[in-house]
């Protein structure tokens, strides 16, 4: 401050005041909650991308080296030939320095160029991802939504009637359910209803839709899509609804103990208004954050379920890539998963700030 008001401002003091202003500016930007959260997310993404680069290109025994050795073995070609093929599929110039390679890699990512698939020769990884992603978003997203809504409603019921027989029964069921991993649910559905009871034909429900139908916005086709997604969706719901119930219950119980709920009753508000605007809204705050975060785990969580039901989503694609040692596809999907986890965390933070005025305002000031 003193430097700025000094009448004989030398060059250095101008620099200092400039630095001051930049710092000042930075502080203002940084104190803005939204901007700060976005910057943090970008830094995380960059760190992961860079880490992946080192892991895949430069680490001893990295996937590229493994792939080159594999190629040489399988097709009895020279090291140079194999290395050239790998470089083309992974999109890098093996004559360039590591620094140049790094910037090429960043540039490719910015253009969404994740290289070519090794198994499906000539197909870019990104188009594979785009082909399978919608199915996973649809089935796992639907599962998440149904599970969240069901868990929230049941959890609130448990909290409202806590210590009643209803609460005890639901608590028992939900603890049991949340202790069983979702692929166990999938297997049980498969074995009990598919194989033993024969309620459905396991073979018919494979894939995302009946290949005899042409994709179109016809009721028949849409119904078929839901039919094929049904088993994965049920599995996701069974695997997660228990923990939604338990989190909702504990969140609601703590809100029910808050002064403002009591005061709202003393104010003569209707039970419905108290339930929605006073209890529900506050109880949902932490759960929305959890919900947004779980969106990021949709793809990772779908790997086993989709391969179990042979549902052609991104999870199944990753599973196939791993078993087929399709390193470019694996790299692509892993980067994509990272990105979606970071993005959903960002979403969670921003959503929380939107919903909770305490954060919103302190961030803006």
């Amino acid at each position: 401050m003193a430097t700025r008001s000094s009448p004989v401002s030398s060059a250095s003091s101008i620099e200092i005041s400039l630095l001051d202003r930049i710092l000042d500016r930075w502080q203002k930007i940084n104190s803005n909650y939204v901007v700060r959260t976005i910057i943090q997310a970008l830094i995380t993404v960059w760190a992961v991308i860079t880490f992946t680069f080192f892991l895949i290109r430069l680490m001893p025994g990295n996937p590229i080296q493994v792939y080159v050795a594999q190629l040489m073995n399988a097709e009895s070609i020279t090291y140079e030939e194999a290395y050239g093929r790998a470089a083309a599929q992974f999109r890098f110039d093996f004559n360039a320095s590591p620094v140049e390679q790094y910037f090429d890699y960043l540039g490719n990512l910015l253009r969404l160029d994740l290289g070519d698939s090794i198994i499906s020769v000539g197909t870019p990884v990104i188009s594979q991802i785009m082909r399978f992603l919608p199915w996973t978003l649809f089935s796992a997203g639907l599962g998440l939504l149904v599970s969240f809504v069901t868990g929230f409603v049941l959890g609130m019921l448990m909290a409202y009637y806590r210590n009643s027989p209803l609460d005890h029964i639901l608590s028992f069921i939900s603890s049991l359910m949340s202790a069983v991993p979702n692929y166990i649910w999938g297997l049980m559905i498969m074995v009990v209803f598919g194989v033993q009871l024969q309620w459905f034909s396991v073979g018919d429900l494979r894939g995302t839709y009946d290949p005899r139908l042409t994709p179109a916005f016809t009721p028949e086709f849409i119904f078929d899509i839901f039919k094929h997604a049904l088993l994965p969706v049920i599995t996701y719901v069974l695997g997660t609804v228990g923990s939604w119930m338990l989190s909702t219950k504990s969140s609601t119980v703590s809100v029910l103990g808050e002064d403002y709920v009591n005061v709202a009753e003393a104010r003569g508000l209707s039970e419905r208004r108290i339930l929605t605007a006073y209890v529900g809204r506050n109880a949902a705050l932490p759960l929305f954050t959890l919900l947004a975060i779980s969106i990021g785990f949709v793809i990772g969580g779908s790997v086993l379920i989709e391969s179990l039901f042979v549902y052609n989503g991104l999870g199944n694609f990753l599973f196939q890539s791993i078993t087929g040692r399709d390193y470019t596809s694996m790299q692509g999907v892993f980067l994509f998963i990272t990105f979606s986890v970071v993005l959903s965390n960002l979403l969670a933070d921003l959503l929380y700030a939107r919903l909770d005025p305490r954060i919103r305002v302190s961030g803006e000031k």
Binding site: D259, A266, R267, G268, L269, Y278, D356, V361
Partner: protein, 342 residues
């Protein structure tokens, strides 16, 4: 103030069913509240003040049971027993007729709603949907409690200090023009200056709006300042009730006398403060006869046998004690020293 009675409590008893047995938190309490008057309930913590006030708006804990008595409420010449109201009537009664400031309620406001929306909620719950009326009324009340009206109106609760929130709550309390406002230790969480300000505001509000107050406090100085009449509670019973000067200068019950002696400000010039010996009684298995007798300096054999009834000794001044004469004798020194000093 006039003689019109808005609330008449008769023989009210409340029991909490606890794991160790029934807790007799309030026993056979009777009193009247007149229009525009402030009645203070004083007594150590655990004496049943909160329980009594919660019973009046039927917001007791689930484990509680009102097992005897009547609470007669009169408005516009119509008298109803609050204990007979159904859920709908009860909901309508709350806040519209009787507003309550709970003990220790730091977060009386929903953190995710603006203050104006919480005022609106309250008005709507009682069938007042006119937003313009609400706005005018709220801003007026904010001025009365000395808040910056427009700023508070648009604020979220966390943007207000503890003192401001308490004033906002007072404004909300009188929004619908209730006949009764119950304040359970409304200032204990606040610093001394804020306490002062709240009490001033409250006095001014009462003069302007002419509602009746039930003011609960274990701070006798505050009670003395707020109240027209005072009731002393001990072990769930009212043991003495009278005008504010009667209670503070001419107490007729040994427990009230003990309370006065244990407070520095009121026991002017007294050489030393004397606190009441012993502990508050166990309300699951209370002492026989007069519940205060194990701690009482005047207790006789009769006191442990027979409970003294609340009896009128001066106009409007009742005490439940077998040895009022001894109290009168003993209070002289409290009284005399005050006179010689002033």
């Amino acid at each position: 103030m006039n003689d019109e009675i808005v609330l008449k409590v008769e023989d009210l008893s409340v029991i909490y069913n606890s794991s160790r047995g029934p807790v007799r938190a309030t026993s056979n309490v009777s009193f009247e509240l007149r229009k525009g008057e402030a009645l203070a309930l004083i007594g150590e913590s655990g004496s049943g003040k909160t329980t009594l006030s919660l019973a009046l708006i039927r917001m007791l804990a689930k484990s509680a049971e009102i097992n005897a008595g009547k609470v007669l409420y009169t408005r516009d010449g119509k008298t109803r027993n609050i204990l007979d109201m159904n859920d709908g009537e009860m909901r309508a009664f709350r806040w519209n007729d009787c507003a309550m400031v709970f003990q220790g309620a730091q977060n009386a406001f929903n953190p995710v709603l603006r203050i104006r929306d919480q005022f609106l909620d309250t008005a709507r719950a009682h069938g007042r949907n006119d937003k313009e009326w609400l706005r005018q009324r709220t801003l007026e009340l904010f001025k009365l409690v000395r808040l910056d009206p427009q700023r508070v109106f648009d604020s979220y609760p966390h943007e207000l200090s503890g003192g401001m929130r308490q004033r906002t709550l007072l404004a909300l309390g009188v929004l619908l023009d209730p006949q009764i406002v119950i304040l359970d230790e409304p200032t204990t969480a606040l610093d001394i200056l804020t306490q002062r300000a709240i009490i001033d505001v409250l006095n001014e509000m009462q003069t302007r709006l002419n509602f009746s107050i039930i003011f609960i406090s274990h701070d006798l100085a505050l009670a003395a300042e707020m109240a027209d009449r005072v009731a002393t509670m001990y072990a769930g019973e009212i043991v003495e009730i009278g005008g504010v000067n009667q209670i503070f200068y001419e107490p007729l019950h040994p427990y009230t006398l003990g309370l006065l002696r244990s407070v520095p400000k009121l026991s002017h010039g007294q050489d030393e403060l004397v606190s009441i010996t012993g502990n508050p009684p166990n309300l699951i298995d209370p002492p026989s006869g007069c519940k205060f007798h194990p701690r009482c300096q005047f207790a006789s054999e009769k006191c442990s046998r027979e409970a003294p009834p609340l009896t009128e000794y001066d106009a409007g001044h009742q005490s439940a004690c077998w040895h009022v004469d001894k109290v009168i004798e003993a209070r002289k020194d409290l009284y005399k020293k005050k006179v010689t000093e002033s």
